[in-house]
Symmetry: C2
Subunit: 228 residues, 2 copies
């Protein structure tokens, strides 16, 4: 699958406004792909709006599904989070079951990929919503990674520090136990140095919030990762 070679992706939030000028710079930055995804206020309208505007460029575009109402055809891939450290089955597999029950007959399985999320920032919105157990030591995180690869055969293990910069040693420990599953790292990357540091262990580095705070810094991460 194409995404297995991705080193750098931008994640854009459909609930946050973005001018055409900014979007063009993101899409033409040399990044490997754009992930469309957010936690709050993701609607079919703002997802479609972004999709249409991103499709003017050649960069691959992924919808990371956050709710059923905002799913639409037209993306290259669909990523489906399953929160491995959630304490509520809703976020592990129940929403997924409902979706499959409703749309299983028309789903394009070869475009759908499950992401095993491990959420590590207790204060982020995603951790609260999914009732994630974020009190994890490095061994806990490594065990989730092994579970993702060996038990559930997930194509992606996603270390999500959401808003804070993570521990590079944990990212390194996780990469050491993964063979087929790809390691995505997301959270708190705000400059080229940090992007480079995380890309030394993670297969794919996800750049999110900084796009909205410091576009120039965000764009500088592309080259930093690609040069590695």
């Amino acid at each position: 699958m194409e995404f297995q070679n991705w080193r750098h992706v931008f994640k854009v939030d459909p609930a946050k406004p973005m001018t055409d000028e900014v979007l063009e710079q993101i899409c033409e930055s040399g990044t490997d792909a754009i992930i469309v995804g957010g936690t709050d206020n993701v609607t079919i309208d703002n997802v479609l709006d972004l999709l249409v505007r991103i499709r003017r460029f050649t960069v691959p575009v992924v919808l990371e599904i956050s709710n059923l109402e905002s799913v639409t055809p037209g993306f290259d891939y669909y990523f489906i989070p399953t929160v491995l450290n959630s304490s509520n089955t809703t976020w592990v597999k129940d929403l997924h079951h409902q979706a499959i029950k409703e749309y299983g007959d028309i789903m394009m399985w070869d475009e759908l990929f499950a992401e095993g999320y491990c959420i590590l920032n207790a204060d982020c919105k995603a951790a609260k919503v999914t009732e994630a157990n974020t009190e994890l030591d490095a061994e806990d995180v490594v065990a989730y990674a092994r579970m993702a690869e060996n038990l559930f055969n997930l194509p992606i293990f996603y270390l999500e520090y959401s808003g804070i910069y993570g521990n590079p040693n944990i990212v390194k420990d996780v990469q050491a136990v993964l063979e087929n599953t790809r390691l995505f790292y997301g959270g708190g990357i705000s400059n080229a140095e940090q992007a480079k540091e995380m890309a030394q262990s993670a297969n794919t580095v996800v750049i999110g919030n900084i796009i909205y705070e410091d576009l120039k810094a965000a764009l500088s991460t592309v080259k930093a990762v690609k040069e590695l």
Copy 2:
């Protein structure tokens, strides 16, 4: 993997006594494999006792892990249940995470296979222990099967009616949506006719309780399934 060709297996419960004579007939019956597994009172002592006695024969032998304390080397495969219709993350992935955290470094991943269980008998012990939601229509069950194959890439989807004979139409519906994942059926098979009926849709038919109630009937299921 060898188990992908299994059509018939006997499941023996380490907590239930079995004479050498009965065990020999089971092992030499022509069945494809013996699964060692139970819900209550499974201990390292009674698991080892069965393993040693089964190993006198050439039939492949699997440990279906019910608790960490009773796991021992020496089996051909280890099956690890994840209960897809449980409402408690403990039975979906938490026990698994604990086990991987503790033993991840020494696990033989190529001998371990996850089974996606769907438990359909509300009154059985397994349903109660795992807090399974057994109020499922055929579409629910089919959606769990699709989830097992497409989201979690599980090698086995296990329809468990535990103690009651299931609905052959549901087994048929499930088989129709599975491609790579193998369908195991277990529950209430008490004669050759029933074994044959379920084996028409299921890849593998599991014969359990009847071994202890009517050995002759249990043995008759082997030929019935193999003749199909």
